[in-house]
């Protein structure tokens, strides 16, 4: 019998369960309750719908930001067309975005040092259009490279223009520039 208005399984418990946090014995007790309780089942349905919507949103190419190779590898496994630019400080490279590209990945190389945070500023025709701050990633820091993704459809709709990317590191309460990169966007390419 389900207790009225049962709230034994809430969002936090659902997140932990799906993320495989609890031990198997705890998980088994969780499952027994989940399957027998209508209230908790309804919350699980809502959570399930939210989690299932994350993949399509990411695959849509409309979620930009700092990512790791794990994310890029998953996108590749799912057949998402990612155009990658590996950029060293001072690089000026042609930005060839094709009509079927879905995501742009910029591998920004720099001396990341021991910084705890990084800020990426993106300027189009001299105007800042995007500013994002991300925390240091162990793997990225050791490789001297941060990965930032942009929506390819956003880049495609730009006129022929230079896209400037400025990377700065936050260390000891100070922000210092560590890289400047330029994508020379010549418009959308068609096959």
């Amino acid at each position: 019998m389900n207790p009225p208005g049962c709230e034994r399984i809430g969002l936090a418990e659902l997140i932990d369960y799906a993320a495989r946090e609890p031990e198997e014995t705890q998980a088994a007790a969780f499952e027994e309750h989940l399957f027998s309780c209508a209230d908790c089942g309804a919350r699980a349905a809502e959570f399930d719908a939210l989690v299932r919507a994350i993949g399509p949103a990411i695959r849509s190419g409309k979620v930009g930001g700092f990512v790791t190779d794990d994310i890029l590898n998953q996108l590749a496994r799912e057949g998402i067309r990612v155009r990658t630019f590996t950029l060293s400080p001072g690089a000026v490279v042609p930005c060839a975005v094709w009509e079927d590209d879905e995501l742009i990945a910029m591998r920004l190389r720099a001396d990341l040092g021991g910084a705890s945070e990084f800020t990426m500023s993106q300027r189009v025709a001299g105007t800042e259009v995007l500013r994002a701050t991300g925390q240091a990633q162990t793997a990225a820091t050791s490789r001297g490279e941060l990965i930032y993704t942009l929506s390819a459809s956003w880049v495609r709709q730009l006129a022929a223009v230079d896209i400037e990317v400025l990377l700065s590191a936050h260390e000891g309460g100070e922000e210092r520039p560590i890289g400047s990169y330029t994508l020379v966007h010549g418009g959308s390419f068609h096959r």
Partner: protein, 192 residues
């Protein structure tokens, strides 16, 4: 005349199971749909944890519910009052044996794909990728990354912690905060 789907929502799990068991195949589509709507998300969640693959979890939910409906029609579910336990037991059995049979999947797809059954509350079932993308983009970078690594790249806390240079406990805290914000943002948009 009352909406049959709305009426079925008020029926207990046991009564629903008995209605399916008592009707010949083909005459209980609405009841079968209601059973699916109630339990598929739970089986999918079970599959997401145990099979560690979203697509396999989808398959598991379809196969478990199809088998359950078949067993109900065949009179092989001896205690309909324990239908929830039957579905959980079937989920465990099928997940352990990885007995995902394409024939069952196709049969279930043929049965349910032409229905308009909502498998979640309307407020969230009507989500579109654009809305979720906007809400993901609105999260702070680290929060979004933890959500993506957990629920898209399917990475566990120790690996995420290693990548981000934090503890697994911090990953858990970030994940809770991020998912709560994502849910609030998505539901806020769905309600507006």
């Amino acid at each position: 005349m009352p909406d049959k789907h709305a009426t079925l929502e008020a029926v207990s799990d046991e009564a629903l199971a008995r209605q399916i068991a008592g009707g010949p195949p083909g005459s209980t589509d609405a009841e079968e749909g209601e059973l699916y709507r109630r339990f598929a998300p739970r089986v999918r969640l079970y599959g997401r944890r145990h099979l560690q693959d979203a697509a396999a979890a989808d398959d598991l939910a379809q196969e478990v519910l199809l088998l359950t409906i078949e067993r109900l029609h065949a009179g092989e579910v001896r205690r309909p009052e324990e239908i929830a336990s039957f579905i959980l037991g079937t989920s465990r059995m099928m997940a352990q044996g990885e007995r995902r049979v394409s024939r069952r999947r196709e049969a279930l797809a043929a049965r349910f794909m032409d229905t308009t059954i909502e498998v979640a509350p309307l407020s969230i079932a009507s989500l579109d990728a654009d809305r979720v993308a906007a809400c993901l983009s609105a999260l702070v970078e680290r929060d979004r990354l933890v959500v993506e690594l957990t629920f898209y790249a399917d990475r566990e806390a120790p690996r995420i912690a290693e990548a981000l240079g934090v503890t697994p406990g911090a990953v858990r805290t970030i994940r809770h905060r991020a998912m709560a914000r994502l849910r609030d943002c998505v539901l806020g948009g769905a309600r507006s």
